[in-house]
Every structure is written in structure tokens, then in C-alpha cells.
Subunit: 355 residues, 5 copies
Amino acid sequence: MSLKRKKYTRKTGLPPGSLIYTGERKSEKVIIELIDYSESSYEVKSIENIEDCAVYKDKPSVTWINIEGIHDTSIIEKTGKIFGIHPLLLEDILNTNQRPKAEDFEDYLFFTLKMLHFDEAKKEIGFEQVSFILGQNYIISFQEGIAGDLFDSIRERLKNNKGTTRKKGADYLVYLLIDAVVDNYYQTIERLDATIEQIEEAVMTDKADHCVASIQKIKKDLIYLRKSIYPLREAISYILKGESKLIDHNTLKYFRDVYDHTIYIFENIETYRDILTGLLDVHLSSLSNRMNVVMKMLTIISTIFIPLTFIVGVYGMNFKFMPELDWPYSYPIIWGVMILISIIMVIYFRRKKWF
Amino acid sequence: MSLKRKKYTRKTGLPPGSLIYTGERKSEKVIIELIDYSESSYEVKSIENIEDCAVYKDKPSVTWINIEGIHDTSIIEKTGKIFGIHPLLLEDILNTNQRPKAEDFEDYLFFTLKMLHFDEAKKEIGFEQVSFILGQNYIISFQEGIAGDLFDSIRERLKNNKGTTRKKGADYLVYLLIDAVVDNYYQTIERLDATIEQIEEAVMTDKADHCVASIQKIKKDLIYLRKSIYPLREAISYILKGESKLIDHNTLKYFRDVYDHTIYIFENIETYRDILTGLLDVHLSSLSNRMNVVMKMLTIISTIFIPLTFIVGVYGMNFKFMPELDWPYSYPIIWGVMILISIIMVIYFRRKKWF
Amino acid sequence: MSLKRKKYTRKTGLPPGSLIYTGERKSEKVIIELIDYSESSYEVKSIENIEDCAVYKDKPSVTWINIEGIHDTSIIEKTGKIFGIHPLLLEDILNTNQRPKAEDFEDYLFFTLKMLHFDEAKKEIGFEQVSFILGQNYIISFQEGIAGDLFDSIRERLKNNKGTTRKKGADYLVYLLIDAVVDNYYQTIERLDATIEQIEEAVMTDKADHCVASIQKIKKDLIYLRKSIYPLREAISYILKGESKLIDHNTLKYFRDVYDHTIYIFENIETYRDILTGLLDVHLSSLSNRMNVVMKMLTIISTIFIPLTFIVGVYGMNFKFMPELDWPYSYPIIWGVMILISIIMVIYFRRKKWF
Amino acid sequence: MSLKRKKYTRKTGLPPGSLIYTGERKSEKVIIELIDYSESSYEVKSIENIEDCAVYKDKPSVTWINIEGIHDTSIIEKTGKIFGIHPLLLEDILNTNQRPKAEDFEDYLFFTLKMLHFDEAKKEIGFEQVSFILGQNYIISFQEGIAGDLFDSIRERLKNNKGTTRKKGADYLVYLLIDAVVDNYYQTIERLDATIEQIEEAVMTDKADHCVASIQKIKKDLIYLRKSIYPLREAISYILKGESKLIDHNTLKYFRDVYDHTIYIFENIETYRDILTGLLDVHLSSLSNRMNVVMKMLTIISTIFIPLTFIVGVYGMNFKFMPELDWPYSYPIIWGVMILISIIMVIYFRRKKWF
Amino acid sequence: MSLKRKKYTRKTGLPPGSLIYTGERKSEKVIIELIDYSESSYEVKSIENIEDCAVYKDKPSVTWINIEGIHDTSIIEKTGKIFGIHPLLLEDILNTNQRPKAEDFEDYLFFTLKMLHFDEAKKEIGFEQVSFILGQNYIISFQEGIAGDLFDSIRERLKNNKGTTRKKGADYLVYLLIDAVVDNYYQTIERLDATIEQIEEAVMTDKADHCVASIQKIKKDLIYLRKSIYPLREAISYILKGESKLIDHNTLKYFRDVYDHTIYIFENIETYRDILTGLLDVHLSSLSNRMNVVMKMLTIISTIFIPLTFIVGVYGMNFKFMPELDWPYSYPIIWGVMILISIIMVIYFRRKKWF
């Protein structure tokens, strides 16, 4: 089943704040990874028991807890208790239909967005929800648990102390994570761009045969992309207002950069929609044109032969008294007449530009 | 008759504030249920006479009076008198064409919205208007009186003192009621989603025969849903401004959550509209394509036989002097010629990609 | 002529404030009616001479002067002088193409809107402009003079001292008048709704034959309705800001109610437009479908007979040497062959789902 | 060439403020007319040399300098020097592609808009740019120089001291001039309205044959009108903010009136666009309907005769052994059979409602 | 490959601020030109080594450093170091997919936009990104390095001390550069305008054969133009707020002028889109009309001959007993009957207006 069509099955009748996972189970086991770093130190751990993270909460070093797999609600609940997170927010993390948003809870900032996966086999875009909780010195990230994420290069950079990342705070790390997700949108857009170029090529050289469905498929992809990127833009714009004390003034410049990227992606999606609509028009018009040319040609052939058939029918009649039948040159004359008629009709149709 | 098409028959010529019920009578008897609770107490009563509720108005415990059936305007009028409600507001409660809205009357808050019922038999969505009046320690809810509502799980929770509901005030209860209604929109959306998926499947595999009407029907449902959810969003947004002293600051967080849900539903409705428009395009284009293929094929058959018919017509003529008629091999030769012509035409049409 | 298409003939070249009536003359004589009331008194007079109204200007009782027929500009001019009204405003009253608006002139409030008349015979909606001037203790209303208005029930209520109307001021009366006009929009909407339902019924059961023009007609009605209701909404919203000292705070609640009605009507107009667009799509698609079915059927009949006609043509040829002609069973065999061909073709077409 | 399609040829490479006329030369000679008036005095002069106007700059009486023809840039330049006008503004006056706007330069107010000319012969709307500079006691108006303008009645009124015009200041005169231009839009709208009514009549009675192009032409006119009126509305709205000390508070009321007119015109343009779109739909659908009826009828005729032709073909075969040929009543029987077949087919087609 | 379709290949996985050029390499060598001027001095240099520019940074004269070719990231990096430019900004300069924007970094102002190149051979519009950094006394401009730019006339003016340019500051120079780019849009618009006029001519005289693709091409050009001009308008509007201390109050007037130009261009793009949509409608409708006329004519010819063919078929039957065959005048009579039938059919079709 497509990842797009998630069921909305919400826990109707349950009290708000009830933690129930609404998505599909994407992995067997929940994997928890903890990275703790400062300018001078770096530590990476695989966590079995979420309670082990509690000690990191108030450490001055930056701690990144990455939870892959959110189907085990007990882990989410415990995390919530340890870090003092509002139950409604936990519900949002578990609800895989959550629209991208940022929300400021004074002590922490909540951010949720969609990460794209491209399934090469099915040529389909998959959506995985990622949520971030940014506290004073920690980030907790929640992924649905599809194997692989977009953060390996960030882990690499932290480990090898490349650039200035380890000198900066948790707010800069959250920027890096969001930036990695948004960068991935660029690649998806590029992939769509290539497909659109192919379709355009096919349509313009009149070689497209089944492109209505392809165009429709891309249009649908664009609709879903737009549904992800539009609220993301709003969410980043919310952060840009700079009201959260958790995000440093200097880091805001970087968020401004991500914001520009989301606008760029959004504008491209709109552009592609316009182009596809145009392509569909050209395609349908050229299809109907080709059809018309065929039908006209065939009809012209019929129209030329029908009067001739009538003429030969006339001299197939068995009347006793038909003087032409006895004349010696009737047969060649009738051939001449018929050829003449054909020529006149062809010339007439040509003049009228009927073919 | 569809529940959607309610008559607007307003009481033209009557003074404003005249209480006249504008909907259809949905039930025989008006049922009034009273639930009174505090953290430690719980009482449920079936009320015969609305005046019996007066004593609950100023009790510190939370009182929820649920009135099912609003066709008996005298009950509404008495309720208005007991709780000191503005006549225009009573008129709004009775007007089943009221658009969803929230209005702050200082002493109480008025909230009206549409509850969805799905009629499995007719595959139709029905709309029932629900209004809430939130006072200091009481809620009065008014339903049109269609059997069954969405609040049973809330009653259950109150009765069994599950969760924290009984510890909280009337404002939290009104949130729970609104949340239950909005949750129900999710299910309707899910049902539509399933139908759209079926239509999509049918269209894409070219098996859809009568889906124009189905698409149109869903589009209409979406129009009506949007008409219900859009003003609802506005109404909740009005509450979120937090100007009413009747709604506690902590409860606002929950309303914010419902607000997010309404946006999500609204965006899905827009998405479905776009998808349906696309599906219609694909369907119509594939219909016309299939038609064209058939017509072309049939026309090609005619076009091949018409010249042949002409040829056999020629040798059906009765001229005295037609040398070919007497030649011994004319008949097989003419067959050869005709077969040749057919083959040439087929090859020609193929080359031109006419079939 | 339709009331909709009023001529714009403005008095080009005349100075601003020149009083020239731009509409058609709707009645012979201008009728002026004066109603003066307070809680305890009630007086109704037919006025011959507008100067007679001057004494009522400063009376503490509420005076309603209703002028039916604005083609006699001298009356308008005199009214302007008596009540000290700005010439541009008088011009607006006379310009029957004025868009609905509210304007605050400190000493008085100006309000103009369109009153609907449904011409049962021609099935056409007519528009009549009504303007109100609300002063401290008086209202002057100007109608174009089409026989009958929507205010009879208000007159009745004033006369019989029903409700609280006579206890309230001139601002409440102006609300009542506007409310009566807006209520009338509901009826028009209801009438359109019924027509749309009929068309929908016809389209869905494929019995609609000429509904393109009907749909177009309703669409045009909706366009004109929207053009009346949209600025009306703006005008009432202008009043709701509550800046005019002429409208009491308590009366604003009632205007808020009318405002809700205009939004409701406006949203319905939009809904109908969407539905009609959808209906047109379904109708055109079903029309073209029916057409296609017919053409396909007819073409199939031709296609089956054309090869058969060719075959019988073959044995109509007059060649000397055609062995089949002399065989004894040729005739029944050829019948068999032809029946076989027909059956094969029918089966083939069926398999291909061509009919 | 249409007046609409002005070339954009801008003086690329020239410094800003370079005075180059971008339009076509509309007249040979530049005509400068000066009218100077106060309540008691009135003077009109034809000016040869723009320097002669300098003395009027600081006179307390109101001076209106009307320059017809802006192709002689030296005159514009001199005017600029005399009245101290910013070079960019002079550039705007000369750029006939300037969009309508108002700009406040403290010492003077700049206003530019499009004046419409209807070319009766070509049935085309022409646009002429008019700019006004409103100083303390003077107005300078610049026209492209097309013969005739819309201000004759204003000149008349000034000369004969009709109304209060001469008592008022230069700001009132500028209002009069703008009002005259906007009034002229009404006439254009009325002319379009009449044409649309004709097309509608033709479409509804199915007598329209080439109305696609006519509809397209009007649509284009509406596009250009909208392009003129939309920024004009903005410009007047800018003046209405009342920030310029050059426009008296009392005159603003008049500008408010013009503003209402521009909204009215704008709304009508939108309405016409909607109506034309609808008409096009009706027209195309009725065209295709008529076409379908014809094709169906013709196809039915063919379909009836093709089987009959086959039957007579059968008995035209020359088989030796065809028993029917020798029966005495074969011929009348075959006629009977064929008539029967025709009747059955006609009945069948009728039942199926194929014609 | 079209310049439009730039790859988005972003350096996924690299830290933000990593300088990687994302466009195609447009030239071999990076050319750096330095112009330093004041009212009295003028100096132009070709720079080999970007470090040589450092001394100009704090000189009171205005310095313009123009860098053509941004594929050598080391040069960009060094420039950044010398002038103290934020790494994210350098990244934006190198990202050729950057949308036009203005950004204020207190010490300098960043401005990036698209310069248009028209490729006469391919009839294609190319986009080149130009970025400006405006410091206190210097401007650095970055071009992608396509041969030729639009600034030659500005260089000329600086060199020859034409106009007041050399008297003004760096802010005025940046205005001149932006103005030159925007002026170039006018020319592109004019070129499109001419093409649209040609297509319109062809469509209206029914001589357009392949204009669907042409219309689509222009539509696509307009989409890309709009994508460049719309954010440009926003960027200039950002400058117009006048919050940057780097831009003098007097220079803002000039930016206001450029702003007006961008609006004008934007409105024209919208107008062209509307016109093209209309043209497409007219074209498709006239195409289908022509097709219909042909098909109808051909079908009418067939329809006339098919009954005649049937008649001659009747008398081709070989029944022994067909009395008509022996009558002496059968043959001429049958001719008469057939001619009569043809005439009746032609008249009938004419009456019905079928041709």
C-alpha cells in the first residue's frame, strides 16, 4: 500500500491525550540512539531503556536522542514523563497524520514535519513523519522507523568534529536536522523535474501515448508535496518570529535560509502544476488532432468511392431497354467518366484544404 | 429526502427573536438529560420539565443539560428564561441553517456546529445541528433529535470517573463535546477516502463506467463538508483568542488541538477536490480515447471494403462490350487485385499508425 | 425588459450633485407615507407635499418617511433641503446603479441596498433600489416605486404595538427594514434551490434535454445576486464597527444577526455555483456519452453489412468463367458464409466491449 | 494599428530621467491652453511659449494649463523647470505605458490615468494617457494629443460660472477632471453591455454563428479596461487616505464618490467576464449539439439503407441455382420484406430515442 | 540544454555555508573588473588577484567590483573574507537557483536577481543570476559569466562623467544596475508581445495550424518570467521600506520607479496569460469547427448516394418476374426518380441548415 494513504483511524471515544499509534508499524524493534557532545567531548550510545537518558537532561553538553519507531507507545510515554512533555504533544507525535507545525511550550519547542523517501521500485514517494523536541540542552527526535534516515552526514560531522557544529548549541543541531530534511525535498523535486522533462519531450514530438495517467500521477505527487511543504513554511516562519528563547539570534539566520528553501520548493511545485496543466492541454489537443486527421482521410476515401459505386450500380441494372448497354464504347467511356469524377473530387477537396 | 437540502423557510414578517423551528421534526418527543458532576459526585437524571433544571444553574458542580429535539419551541423558550439567554441566540439555536459560529455573550459562550451522520443505506451524509451554551458551571447542548449522538463515550467517562474529566470544569467538557464532533469528521473523511481510492483504481485500470456521477456526488459531499468545517475553524479560532473568561487558559491548549484537526480536515477536503478533478480528467480522456479507437477501427473496415465493392460493381455492369468478361482468367485475377488492394491499404494504415 | 440591465446613462457633462434620475420610471405618482410613533402614540399620514414633513424632524417621537418613486427629482431635492442632506448623497439615491453601501455623515447615516422582486410570469428576478437615511429620530426611505414592498408586516407591528418595536428608537426600525430585505433574499435563494434540485434530478436521471441554458440562466442570477449581497455584507460590517453614534450598542447585536444572514446567503451562492458547474460537467459528459453510444451502434451496423455487400457484389459479376456460379450449392453455401461472418464480427465486437 | 498595443521601446542605456517620448505621435503641433479663474475673474489663453505660464505659478487665482501633445519633450522639460517638477515624474508623463497612479511629492501631487476613446469605425477602444500635476493654485494636465477630450463641459462651466466650481480650489478642479474621465468609462461599459446583450440574444436563440471571436474580442477589451481601472482605484484610494495637504477635507468626499464609481466599474467588468465565459459554454455546447443532431440523422439514413442494399445485392447474384429467382412473387415479397425492415429499424431507433 | 532547467543538485550532506557552485560553467576564466570613481576621479582596472581589491574597501570613493564567473569558489571565498561577508550569503551567491531577494546584513545589503538573455538562434530565453553586495562605499556584483551584460552604458556614463552619476553614492549605482536589468525585461516582454500578436493574427484569420505548441511555449516562458519578476518585486518593496542606512532617502525615489516597472511587467505577464488562454479557446474552437464542416459535408455526400445505390441495386436483381424491367421507359423514369430524390434531399438538408 502507498505510504500516502494513511488511515485516519483515530481513537474515537478515547480521552484526549490517550497515546495510540495511528500509523503502520514500519519496523520490529524501536531503536534509540543517544549522541552527547560538547566542543571537546563526544559520546555515542545505543540505548535499551529510555530511562537511561534521564541523566542527560540537565547536563550542559548537547544531547541528541533519536528514537526510531514510535509504535511502542510505552516508550513515548516514558520519554514524556522524563522530559516533562505535555500529553497532547505526545499524541501529536504518535499521530502520523499530523500536519507539519512548530509549537512553543516555553520549556521546549516542538517541531514536526514530513521526511520523503523515494521508492525506486514502485516509483512512489513515501512520507515519514519526523518530530523534534528541542529543550535547553537536548533534542529528542522521533521517526516512524523506516530504515535509513537523512542524518548520517550530520552524525559524521559531529563525530569528526568537522566545521563548527560541536561549538554550537542544540538549536543549531535542530536547524541542521530540518535542513537535511528540506534538502531532500530538492532531490525529489529534481526527480519530478526529470520526469516532467521526459513527458514534455514526448508530448512535443507527439510520441506520448499514455501520458494522461503519468501527468495525473505527478500532479497527485505535487499535491501531496505541497500539502507537506506549505505548513512547513508556516512552521519555520513561526520560528523566525524569534519569540522562543531556546533559539539563539544567530541561529535564526540559518532558519531564514531554510525558509527561503521552502519558498523555493513551494514555488517550483506551483510552476510544475502550471506546466503539467499546459502539457495536458497540448497532449489532448494533439491526440484529438491526430484522430481527426485519420477520420477525415478515411471519410474522404469513402466519399470518393460511394458515387462511383452508384454509377457502376446503374449499369448493373437489368432493364430491357437501356441504350448505353449496347453501344460499343460505353465501357471505356464510363471508366473515363469515373476517373474524371474522382480527379475532380480530389481537386475539390484539396482546394478546400480538406486534406 | 436528503438531510442536506433543508428548507430556508424563515418566518418572514415575524419580529426578530420569534422562536420558530425551521427544520424537519426529527423525533416525536423532546428528551432532556441532565448530568451533574464534580470530582467526587455524579448524578444523571432524565428531565420531564425543563424548569427542574433551574436549581442546577448556580450549583458549584458542573451541570450538563442535553436537549434532544428542538421542534418544541416552548421548551427552548423556557430554557432561555431560566438561564437568561438572549432571544436572538435562541432563534439561532432553532434555525437549523445556522452556519457554525462561536459568540461571546459575556455571561455565557454560544457555540453551534454541524454533527455528521452517515446513512449507510442511502450512502448519504446527513447533517445535524448541535449548539452549546457554556455558562459558569453549566453546559446546555441542543440537538435536532436524530437518534444517537457521538457523546456516549464522554458520558461513560464521566460516569466511571475515567481520566481527569471530572476534575476539570465545564469549559473542558465543552471541549470534549466539540472534539467528539470533529473526530467524527475524520471518519467521514476516511469513508470518502476509501470511495475515492476505489474510483481511482477503477479509472486507472479503465474499468470505470459510470464514475462521472459518482465523482460528482463526492464532490458535492465535499462542498457541503467544507461549508461545515470552514466556519467551524473560524469559530474555534475565535475562542483561541482567549478573550472569554469562561474558558480557562489550560483548556485553550486543547482547543488549539481541535483547531489543528479542523485545518487538517479542511486541507484534506481541498486535496480530495483536486484529486477528483484530476480523476475526472483522466476518466473523460480515457473514455473519449476508447471511443476513438472503436470508431477508427470500424471506419477502417468500411474504408477497406468500399473500394472493393466498387470493383465488383464494375464487373456487375451489363455492357455488351466488356472484353474482360470473356477472358478466362479474369475472375481469379480480379480476386488477386482485390486482395492486393486490401493488403496495401492495411500496410498503409499501419505505417501511418492509424491502428 | 429585464430589470437587471439598467442603463448606465449618467449625466455626463453635468456638475457633480446634479440630481437626475437614471432608472426607468416605475410608477406614475410619487407616494409619500409618514409614520410617527412613540411607545404611546401612533400616527400614519399620506403626505402630498414633502414640506409637511419638516415639523417632524425635531420631534422626539420616531418618524418614518417612506418615499415611493424617485423619478421626481424635485421632491428629492426638497427632502435634501429640509433634512440637510449632502447633494452627493442625493445623487446616490437617484442613481439606481449604486452599489449597496453604508456611509456615515455624522448627523445621519446613509444606507442603500437592493430589494428583490420575483416576477412569477417571466421567472425573472427584479432588483429595486432602496435607500435609507437614518437621522436622530427619523428615517427616510426611498424606493424606486415598484408596487408593493416588504415592509407591510413592520407597519402592522408598529400600528398594533406588537413586540417591543415602538419602545425602541429609529436605529432599531432601520434594522427591521434591512432585515426584511435580507429575509427576502432567503426566499429567492430557496426558489433557486428548488430549481437547481429539479435540474439535478433531470441531469442525474439523464432526462435533461435543454438544461445548459437553464443552468446558464441560474448562474447569471447567482452572479447578480452575489453582486448585490457582497457589498451589502461590507456595508453591514461597516456599521458593526460601531462608530456611528446614531446606532445604539444594543441594536448592534441585531445588525450582527443580519450580518450572519448575509454571510450565509453569500456562502450558499458560492455553493450553488460550484454545484451548477459540477452539474454542467455531468450533463455534458452524459450527453456526449449518449451520442457516442448511438454513433457506435450505427457504425457497427454499417460495418457488419459492408463486407456482406461486397460478397454479394462478387457473385453479381458477369464474368464468363466463374466456376462457383454453376455449382448447385453455391447459393446456400454463400448464405452460410455470410451468416458466419456476421456472427464472428458480432462476437469480436462484443469481446472488445465495443457494444 | 490598435492603440492598445503600444510599444514598450524604452530608452535602454539612457540615464534615468532622460526625457524621451515612448508613444506614437498623435498630433502635429503641441497645443497649450491656459485657463485662469477665481470666483470673480475668468481668463482663457492659447499659449505659444510655455515660459509665459511662469507668472501664473504663484498667482492666488486657480490656473489650469492643459498641454495637448507630449511628443515635444523640450516643452515638457521647460514645464518641469518652471514648476520645479522631479525629472522621474516628467519621465512618467512621457512614458505612455505608465500604469495609472497617484504620487505625493509634498509640493505637488501627481496623478496619471487612461482616458478612453471609442473608434466607431473600427469598433475599437483606444487609450490616451492623461497626467495631472496639482500644485497649490495650479493644475497642469498633459494629454497625448488625440483630437478632442472629455473636458469641454468643465470649460463651459468655468466660463459661464455655473455651479460652485469657480468658488472652489484647484483640488476640486482636479476632481472634476478625473470624474469626467471615469464617467467616460461608464459609457464604454454601456457600449460593451449592449454588445454582450446582442451576443446573448444570438446565443440563446441559437442564431450565433461566429460569436467565439466576438466573445474573445470583448474579453480582451475587458482585460485592458481592468488593467486601466484597477490601478486607478488604488490611486484614488491613495488620495482618500487624506495625507496630502493639497486636497481639502471637503473635496475628499467627492473623491470618495469617484472611488465608488471605479469599484462599480471594476465589479461590472468582473461580472461581464463571468457572463461571457458562461455564454461561450452555452454557445459551444449548442454548436456541438447541433452538429451531433446532424451527424446522427445522416448516420441513421445510411444505417437504414445499408442492409437494404445488401438484400438487393443478394438477388443480383448470378448463381445458376437460386430458387427464389424463379418464384413468381419473389419481387413483391422482397419489397415487402425491405419495407418491413425499414419500419422496424425506424421504430427501434425512435424507441431508443436516437432521433 | 535550456538555461531554464538548472539542476538542483545541492550538496546534500555538506555543512551549511559550504561553497559549492551549483550551476553550469559558463566561461573558462573568471574576469574581475574594478571601477573606482568619485566626482573628480575615475579609474578602471582588470584584477587578476581578488586580494588587490582589499585596499579599495575603505576608500571614500565609490568602488564597483564586477566578478564575471562564479564557478571558481576560491575567489568567492576570498572575496567573502576581505569584505567580511556571511558564509550563508556566499552560498546564496553560488546557488544559481536562488530566488530573487534582498537581505539587509546591517553592514551591507545583499540583492540577487535574474538577468535575461535572449538566444536569437533557439528563440529561447536564458536566465543568468546576478547578485549585488552594497557596502558603504563599494558594490560587488557577481555574474554567472555568460558573455556580455547589460551594464555597458553605465560604464560609459561613469567613464565620460555623463549626468550626475559620479556625484552620487554607491546606492545610486546599485539602482542603476538593477534598473538596467529590469529595463531588459521590457524588451523581452516586447518580443513576446510581438509573437503573441502574430499568433493572434494567425488564429483570427484561421491560418494557424500548429499554434497550440507555440502558445504553450510562450505560456511556459511567461511562467518562468513571472517566477523571476514576482520575488523581485518583493525584494524591491523590501528596500522601499527604507530601513537600510546604506540607501539614501533621495535614492529611494528611484527604487520606487523601478518598483513601478516591476509591477507593470508583472501585470503585463498576467494580461498575456489571459489573452493566450483566450486565443487557445478560439483556436481549438475554430479547429473543431473546420473539422465539423468537413465531416458534415462528406457525410452529406454519402447520405445522398446511399439511397440511390440502393435503387439501382433493386433493378440489378435477377428475379424472373420483375415487370418494370420490361417496360420501355423504365430506365429514363428511374433516372428521373433518382434525380428527384437527390434534389429533395439537398433541399431538405439546406432547409435544415445542415450545410
